[in-house]
Symmetry: C2
Subunit: 236 residues, 2 copies
């Protein structure tokens, strides 16, 4: 338990506007903190502010500072929260749940993200703080092997491919309301983080309103008093 004066702070990726917080990995953690009933503050952080988080021993967010603990990487932070606050609602649901949640997390990172990047990358760029834009363009164009403007061509075809890629989630949601079952847990946040990423920076309609995934996203937008819905973004 935290005593008075002890704080929980999340370094949270921001765009040009300080309140535009779009990182999928930071969203996972904001929802995980809310799930654990923990109050927290966020600090707007930009890609090029490596020095600001150098105390964490690496250069990416999310970075969580919980009293005297410093943890980087979304999965490590989720694991930390589950271990440090076991008396609060569970994020994983035990050892089996944790192992299986890592599969969902891996699917989100390695399949879903790859379907989304070619749709969103230019919208991300356009929302970045000026000081981040050259860094972002250079690192992403090197990793993806093409100019950002070329990567986002043929978005209509890519939206169709994305909807096809989402079929495992769609199938699941025909028989249960959340990935984790009757209530949301970290497996939901691991996927939802990517939808919230899109929502924060892109007017592109990724899923149709009659898709079970759309209704699932609505439930998560409403969770924790509308934490995700209230964030600056596009209402698509």
């Amino acid at each position: 338990m935290k005593g008075p004066g002890m704080s929980t702070v999340l370094y949270d990726l921001a765009g040009a506007e300080p309140e535009r917080r779009f990182s999928p990995f930071c969203w996972r953690i904001k929802l995980a903190l809310a799930h654990k009933n923990l109050s927290f503050d966020t600090i707007a952080w930009r890609f090029t502010e490596k020095d600001v988080i150098s105390f964490s021993g690496q250069g990416k967010v999310p970075v969580l500072v919980d009293s005297d603990k410093v943890i980087a990487d979304s999965w490590a932070i989720a694991t930390y929260l589950e271990d440090a606050y076991p008396q609060q609602p569970l994020l994983f649901g035990g050892d089996a749940g944790k192992a299986l949640t890592l599969f969902v997390n891996s699917w989100a990172d390695r399949s879903l993200a790859r379907g989304l990047v070619p749709l969103l990358i230019l919208d991300i760029f356009n929302h970045l703080h000026e000081k981040d834009q050259a860094y972002f363009r250079q690192t992403r164009e090197k990793a993806l092997g093409a100019p950002l403007e070329q990567i986002v061509l043929s978005r209509e075809t890519k939206v169709k491919e994305l909807r096809h890629l989402l079929e495992p989630l769609r199938g699941l949601l025909k028989t249960q309301n959340f990935v984790a079952g009757t209530a949301p847990a970290y497996a939901d946040y691991a996927i939802f983080g990517f939808f919230q990423w899109a929502r924060c920076i892109s007017p592109l309609k990724l899923i149709e309103s009659d898709d079970p995934i759309y209704q699932w996203r609505e439930r998560l937008l409403d969770a924790f008093g509308g934490l995700a819905r209230q964030a600056p973004g596009y209402d698509v």
Copy 2:
């Protein structure tokens, strides 16, 4: 608990040779039965023997007859086994584990299967009993919209796409030995069933020997005294 004289029987899809048992859905259940330490017999069944399983109220295998219970559909059977034999090793690991296992199951059925079908469908056809071949060709060509021989063109490209599609599983296996964690459970069998399907009917090498997925498959081939490894198939 079953008394003397009470039996557990699985109707199990077979090819031309009665011992070539290749259904991915039946493999899930054979491993689930072994996981629960249940002894069982199998009955070779062919696609066109609808009358033989009509007592189950539908026309597909797996069909499990456990004493006086009749259950069809692999997920329904797994759920039945977990509920009927809760004192044996768990297949799901509790409510959270069950919900998350259904995500893995859904990924296997809706992503992995779609990557495998265009690689394997002609090999399946070639291993079928003569009496099943016309039925199989007609139903599959109608569903897939092309002749079987055309569906399996460009297998080299499709193997590459499959290996890409498997990235979430590969990533997971870098940090844990099984999908369900330190020991295999139904989430593993749900995926492995499809690899065993391939192994039983196709000489095609789907995964390289240095792939973490290959090592995971080896562990499952060895599980339960080599239950899956002993089945007639191709050693690829």
